[in-house]
């Protein structure tokens, strides 16, 4: 199996505070990699390092390498804008733009010049909504405000918006934490489908979710990667006592 993203000796600092220490993680193509750990353990920081969304934070600094298809994304020659098109992101709270359903999906393709208005764009919007398992629910209300959708639909709309720019990788930062159990299940089902086409990295607080959807799981603790292995193995037979304490403590 191909490694899509290879993280090598990656450190991350906010000013003097070291948020990530010596990360080494292989992220497999067309698989779901889950990152678990307590709040403040660095998993979200790590996720945002993968598309360099941390760049905008004053005083933030990265060391080491993150290779996407063998090329270091922290190379000074890398175009961050282009990188972010290849590595999309879905956020914790459903956050559609306060525009129509259609315009939300069309935003990315429009600014990237992938399609103009008209039939090509309509086609792109439909494909993306289908890809996010939302088309049937919204096909008659594409001009409605996205804010009128329910939270689960909004989150799938955000996923449609992300896949509309045709990324290789989708990062998900606790994508279900604001959703009810039914909506959570629909998003989880969608993630399994998306994994056939995309490489997915998901940060989650919910260990059952990690166990349900992911192929690989990494356990973060105080800015370090304690354990990384296949999900079944990590939950069934954790190698590290810390991992075991965490997953059993949370289970009870």
């Amino acid at each position: 199996m191909k490694t899509k993203i290879e993280v090598r000796d990656f450190d991350f600092y906010y000013g003097d505070f070291q948020a990530l220490k010596g990360m080494n993680i292989p992220i497999a193509e067309h698989r779901i990699t889950a990152l678990i750990g307590p709040s403040g353990c660095g998993k979200s920081t790590f996720l945002r390092s993968l598309n360099r969304m941390n760049d905008t934070i004053p005083g933030a600094r990265a060391e080491g390498e993150i290779l996407l298809d063998g090329k270091n994304i922290y190379d000074p020659k890398v175009d961050v804008v282009e990188l972010r098109q290849r590595i999309g992101m879905v956020f914790q709270r459903p956050n559609p733009f306060p525009q129509s359903v259609y315009d939300n999906v069309a935003f990315g393709p429009r600014v990237l010049g992938m399609a103009k208005r008209g039939r090509a764009m309509d086609e792109m919007v439909r494909e993306s909504l289908e890809g996010a398992a939302l088309w049937n629910e919204v096909k008659h209300r594409l001009d409605d405000s996205a804010l009128n959708l329910n939270p689960g639909q909004q989150q799938r709309l955000c996923i449609a918006r992300t896949i509309a720019v045709k990324p290789d990788v989708i990062l998900m930062d606790e994508p279900c934490s604001a959703l009810d159990p039914v909506a959570t299940l629909s998003v989880e089902d969608l993630m399994r489908e998306l994994a056939e086409e995309y490489t997915i990295v998901i940060v989650t607080h919910n260990m059952q979710q990690a166990a349900r959807v992911s192929d690989y799981t990494g356990f973060f603790w105080l800015g370090e990667l304690v354990e990384f292995s296949e999900t079944d193995e990590l939950f069934r037979a954790p190698r590290e006592p810390l991992t075991e304490a965490y997953i059993t403590g949370r289970r009870g």
Binding site: V81, R84, F91, P98
Partner: protein
């Protein structure tokens, strides 16, 4: 006194103070309407003044004020909005930007006659525009910049950070993010600032005194390098410089000026509430 009594007293005092604030506004508007309305007629709005301004209408002054307001818009807004975008999105907090911000705050506090003198020196004489609509509009443009910049900056900053983050994460550049997400969402606030600035510009006398306003010029301006009459200055002239001026013409002129400024404010309010309702977050 018990705590409840103190509370009642405080509410009463605050209510009275609030009423006192409103009374002068109502009085001013009421007096101007009461005295100005009878002489207000279609002829008054569409005819030039005659008989040493003691008869006829005020059409050239109305037109002049409308032209100046448009000119002010053109002179002020591209610059103000660019400045607001820079301050809100790019500037950060450096020594330079602190100076710029301080300059803007101070600009708002400068007496308007000083703008007038600056406009005379800068646009009328140095740039050689002469006493003209261009010179007046540029002077009024500078006058409106502080209020437009600060309201626009505030409107831009109030757009949730999340929209920027999402837009960037989709591969939009910073400028595309500003152009396609931030500005559309900030537009109600920006437009409000623009119109409030225009309302102020339309009513000012001192800045146009030396830069554009004509004492008496019944012909309409033919180009932007001509002088023009303007309502505030016309009002000043007929109130103080013309002996035997009928009072109702003075009041009607004041009423027209008041209506223009009030309607600008009203439009600003409507635009804001309408666009607010459409975009919510």
């Amino acid at each position: 006194m018990t705590r409840q009594q103190t509370h009642k007293l405080a509410v009463a005092v605050i209510t009275i103070v609030a009423a006192i604030v409103v009374i002068p506004i109502i009085l001013v508007i009421g007096v101007v309407f009461w005295n100005g309305l009878p002489a207000l007629s279609w002829e008054f709005l569409t005819q030039p003044p005659t008989n040493g301004m003691r008869e006829g209408g005020i059409m050239p002054a109305i037109l002049g004020t409308v032209l100046l307001t448009f000119g002010t818009a053109i002179a002020s807004f591209p610059l103000s909005i660019a400045a607001a975008i820079y301050l809100a999105e790019y500037a950060g907090d450096t020594r330079l930007t602190r100076w710029v911000r301080m300059a803007i705050v101070n600009l708002a506090g400068i007496p308007s006659i000083v703008y007038g003198l600056f406009g005379l020196g800068m646009f009328v004489l140095f740039f050689g525009f002469g006493t003209s609509i261009v010179a007046g509009a540029l002077t009024l443009g500078i006058l409106t910049m502080p209020v437009v910049i600060s309201t626009a900056e505030e409107a831009i900053l109030s757009v949730p950070q999340e929209f920027r983050t999402v837009s960037l994460s989709l591969g939009a550049t910073k400028w595309q993010t500003i152009r396609h997400q931030v500005l559309p969402n900030a537009m109600p606030g920006i437009i409000t600032g623009i119109i409030l600035g225009l309302g102020r510009a339309a009513g000012e006398t001192a800045p146009i005194l030396f830069t554009v306003a004509a004492f008496y010029l019944p012909e309409l301006p033919k180009s932007i390098f001509d002088q023009t009459m303007a309502l505030p200055y016309h009002l000043y002239v007929i109130s103080t410089q013309v002996p035997g001026m009928p009072l109702e013409i003075q009041y009607s002129t004041a009423l027209v000026l008041l209506l223009i400024v009030l309607s600008l404010t009203l439009v600003a309010t409507l635009v804001r509430t309408r666009m607010r309702r459409r975009r919510e977050w």
